[in-house]
């Protein structure tokens, strides 16, 4: 618990001022859709030029800790995720807002985030001695199996109509193949457009699928979309209590988050989708998910923040970023003459502890501030749908355009808004599509990489890969087993 010693360093007033400023900044950026952690850090890095390394760490870490919170607030209130990692928060958060339980959802999500973030950083602290071994234990066959396991979530969310669910999933896979092929690194299915070289960017697609699609169903409504606020003043407390009621689920989601975080090259949004899938699969009544189950919000948000602790591990052990935002953070640290890498575990260990302490303090500040701001923003759900729709469209398009000023991003968002609308209308699955799109590239590239290094045997001889394969098979079979069990039990009762 080396970081505890650094907490009182942080309580000096100048650091506190930096932290509050940074957290506010991070929160605002997080609330603006489309702008995530890496943008926040990029904007702040030039400011740190004139600072001491310690102050720079405090500034960057606390701003970064706050970004996710802003994103989850807009996911819940207006179905507009700030970043790909927040996308899964909309699945249950927005239906809760529609039921007038936005306050409860927000407080649960923030509390789960803060606590999840703590657990992530706490475990990071414990895992530091074995950091290098742990990171090196995962190679391509494990990535591949993890990708397959992630795809089983599709089976869970498409029980409404498996056939159209499969079409949605494969459509998502095909979209994932647009861009650069994993074998040569050349363009594939780009139709001569350099915009598509890196594939469709996830943020505009997600903003289109969720925010713009939602605007379609809002714009004709003359009444407020959140029905009367049912949970009044107690909402906030109910939200916190919900986390404790589902503490086991919460812990499991944290572990999934940390696990995914440790593996560089597996995107952060995978963590939230996987833990959502796990929450649905292990629930006694999975059918309530997607219609406002607080468990859905808790699982996603805790995994999301716990992941940050995990993704610091490869950064500390090798100087290799665990996520895109972490890459920016490393860049920022390098400019101050700090080399993230093994030295951070030996000679610079005090700075590492400062980093962890700053992240923890940042989370506390961010939690309190976003709680105050978020619960006050609930009034949005009382606005008439027809007035809300243009606002959502405006902030959605603004968010897409702001990231790199490319009109193509805006067009992509619009097109996927339409696709999302028809998907919803005709019974296809947006969730299946987006999961397949996130995992498609990982599965294909890790397949080729496994074949180049280990051959077929790599899939079946490595213990971690085998465990993941077992979990994949189990989660495919489990729904049938359970429905059979339910049937036989039902018979028993009726007889």
């Amino acid at each position: 618990m080396g970081f505890l010693g650094q907490i009182d360093t942080l309580l000096q007033w100048d650091y506190v001022v930096i932290m509050i400023g940074a957290v506010l900044f991070g929160l605002i950026i997080g609330i603006l859709p489309g702008l995530g952690g890496s943008v926040t850090l990029a904007l702040l890095i030039p400011i740190t030029f004139s600072m001491s390394p310690e102050a720079a760490i405090v500034l960057l870490m606390s701003a970064y800790s706050a970004v996710n919170y802003g994103g989850s607030i807009t996911s819940i209130l207006v179905n507009t995720p700030g970043d790909a990692a927040n996308a899964a928060t909309t699945f249950d958060g927005y239906p809760l807002a529609k039921q007038g339980k936005a306050k409860m959802a927000i407080s649960a999500s923030i509390f789960a985030s803060v606590l999840g973030g703590f657990i992530g950083l706490f475990l990071l602290d414990l895992l530091i001695p074995v950091a290098r071994t742990l990171v090196l234990a995962f190679s391509y066959p494990e990535f591949f199996m993890l990708g397959l396991f992630g795809l089983t979530v599709i089976a869970v969310v498409t029980q409404g109509n498996t056939f159209r669910g499969l079409i949605s999933g494969m459509f998502g896979l095909m979209l994932a193949y647009v861009g650069t092929d994993p074998l040569l690194g050349l363009d594939r299915f780009t139709f001569g457009s350099d915009y598509l070289w890196d594939g469709l960017s996830l943020v505009p697609v997600i903003i289109g699928l969720f925010a713009i699609t939602e605007a379609f169903s809002l714009f004709t409504q003359q009444e407020a979309y959140g029905s009367d606020i049912k949970v009044g003043k107690k909402g906030a407390i109910e939200g916190i209590a919900a986390v404790f009621k589902n503490f086991w689920l919460f812990l499991r989601s944290c572990f999934i988050g940390i696990f995914i975080g440790i593996i560089p090259g597996v995107g952060g949004s995978v963590a939230s989708f996987l833990s959502y899938g796990m929450a649905v699969q292990t629930s006694k009544n999975p059918e309530k998910f997607g219609k406002g189950a607080i468990e859905g919000v808790i699982a996603v948000e805790s995994a999301n923040d716990a992941k940050e602790g995990g993704s610091l591990l490869p950064t500390l052990a090798f100087g290799i970023p665990g996520s895109s935002a972490m890459a920016v953070l490393i860049g920022g640290l390098l400019m101050h003459g700090l080399a993230p890498g093994p030295e951070m575990l030996t000679t610079d260990i005090e700075l590492t502890y400062l980093l962890i302490a700053a992240a923890i303090m940042g989370k506390i500040f961010a939690g309190v501030l976003s709680f105050v701001i978020g619960t006050r923003m609930v009034f949005i759900t009382n606005i008439k749908g027809t007035l809300m729709a243009p606002g959502i469209i405006a902030i959605a398009l603004v968010g897409c355009y702001a990231t790199s000023g490319n009109i193509a991003d805006v067009i992509v968002a619009l097109v996927f808004g339409l696709i999302g609308f028809y998907f919803k209308k005709y019974g296809y699955s947006r969730i299946a599509m987006i999961i397949a799109m996130v995992l498609g590239g990982l599965i294909e590239s890790s397949y080729y990489q496994s074949m180049a290094t280990f051959g077929y045997s790599g899939f079946f001889t490595r213990p971690i890969a085998l465990v993941l394969l077992g979990m994949t098979l189990l989660s495919i079979v489990w729904p049938y087993v359970r429905s059979q069990m339910k049937k036989s039990r039902g018979k028993g009762i009726s007889a």
Partner: protein, 336 residues
């Protein structure tokens, strides 16, 4: 009656607001760029083709305020990240921009030359108006520090070498392919879509060797995770005196500098000479600024400045050099 007054008032005040906003937005843009004698009159856009946090972004963000300082009218130099397609999107953007000096970009010569060779692109490095070379980033070959290979010759004896790559048309892959072609080593690529993943593959031992630029791998060499086997330059690196350069290892001498990557600042083709001179001057003064040197020192960056004319000449030679290795690329991409 009162209500209409209120409405009128609101209408008037909101109209006012529109005009104020229109004014704010229009004032810098409306001035004509043709008046080059008093260039610059508005903010300059400095395009970076990579995500924030990388070497190119750090360089651009560090030097931008100093270019501003030494420009005649001290207009802002705003860094704009336009990441994607290995900086080809940004290069296309600058290529097509108006040659008025208000759009400049930072270029990765090695990377873009490879792209230009292998893919269909809109930019053409031979037509870009070069303003300066900021730094030189030589190519290196590295293995894991636990690897049994101590020299490049050790690899020649192995019948199947796995090279960790980041795209087969990338400059680093080209360097490796050309080196192995000279040595007669058989190899297979293990491709990744990020530099850090491809480095981790070597550290983990899944791949035998990788090529890259020294700036991107220095931290792993210094931390003891990786070992440098070859340094591509005209002479050995002062910090790593034991590492040979290609000509010392029996490779042709023109390989020494053929694959070095350079950080350049360029502007759209056919930039008027007087504007080019103003920008060149500002960049040169920025690089000579002692305050800027303090920043560079903090970031552990070194400069290797070349002026506009010398940079243009250097780019021409480099592009010709790449042309010589075009066969290596075509062969690489046609291989089944």
């Amino acid at each position: 009656m009162r209500k209409t007054k209120l409405q009128l008032f609101l209408l008037a005040s909101s109209l006012l607001l529109v005009f104020v906003m229109a004014g704010c937005g229009a004032s810098p843009a409306s001035k004509d760029a043709s008046a080059s004698s008093n260039f610059p009159t508005k903010n300059i856009e400095f395009v970076v083709g990579y995500a924030p946090g990388g070497g190119y972004s750090d360089w651009a963000q560090a030097i931008a305020p100093f270019i501003k300082k030494h420009l005649p009218n001290q207009v802002n130099v705003i860094v704009r990240h336009m990441e994607g397609a290995g900086s080809a999107i940004a290069a296309n953007y600058v290529q097509k921009a108006k040659p008025d000096g208000y759009t400049i970009g930072i270029y990765n010569l090695g990377g873009l030359a490879g792209t230009q060779l292998a893919r269909e692109v809109q930019f053409d490095l031979s037509t870009v108006t070069w303003l300066a070379r900021l730094s030189l980033d030589p190519a290196i070959a590295t293995v894991s520090s636990k690897s049994p290979y101590q020299t490049m010759e050790d690899l020649a004896s192995k019948d199947h070498v796995i090279m960790s790559t980041k795209g087969l048309a990338a400059n680093a892959t080209l360097t490796g392919a050309a080196t192995f072609a000279e040595m007669g080593v058989k190899w297979t690529p293990l491709n990744h879509d990020g530099t850090s993943e491809s480095l981790l593959a070597v550290i983990r031992g899944d791949a035998d060797i990788t090529w890259g630029s020294i700036d991107s791998q220095k931290q792993y060499i210094d931390s003891g995770d990786m070992r440098m086997l070859m340094y591509y330059n005209s002479e050995r690196h002062p910090d790593y005196p034991d590492v040979p350069i290609p000509s010392e290892a029996g490779l042709p001498e023109e390989m020494n500098e053929a694959f070095n990557t350079h950080r350049l600042i360029g502007a759209p083709p056919e930039l008027p000479d007087d504007i080019r001179a103003i920008l060149e001057e500002a960049i040169k003064k920025a690089i000579d600024d002692p305050e800027f040197h303090e920043v560079l020192e903090k970031m552990e960056f070194t400069t290797s400045y070349l002026n506009s004319a010398d940079t243009t000449e250097m780019v021409e030679t480099a592009l010709q050099g790449y042309q010589n290795y075009k066969d290596v690329v075509t062969e690489l991409l046609a291989k089944e």
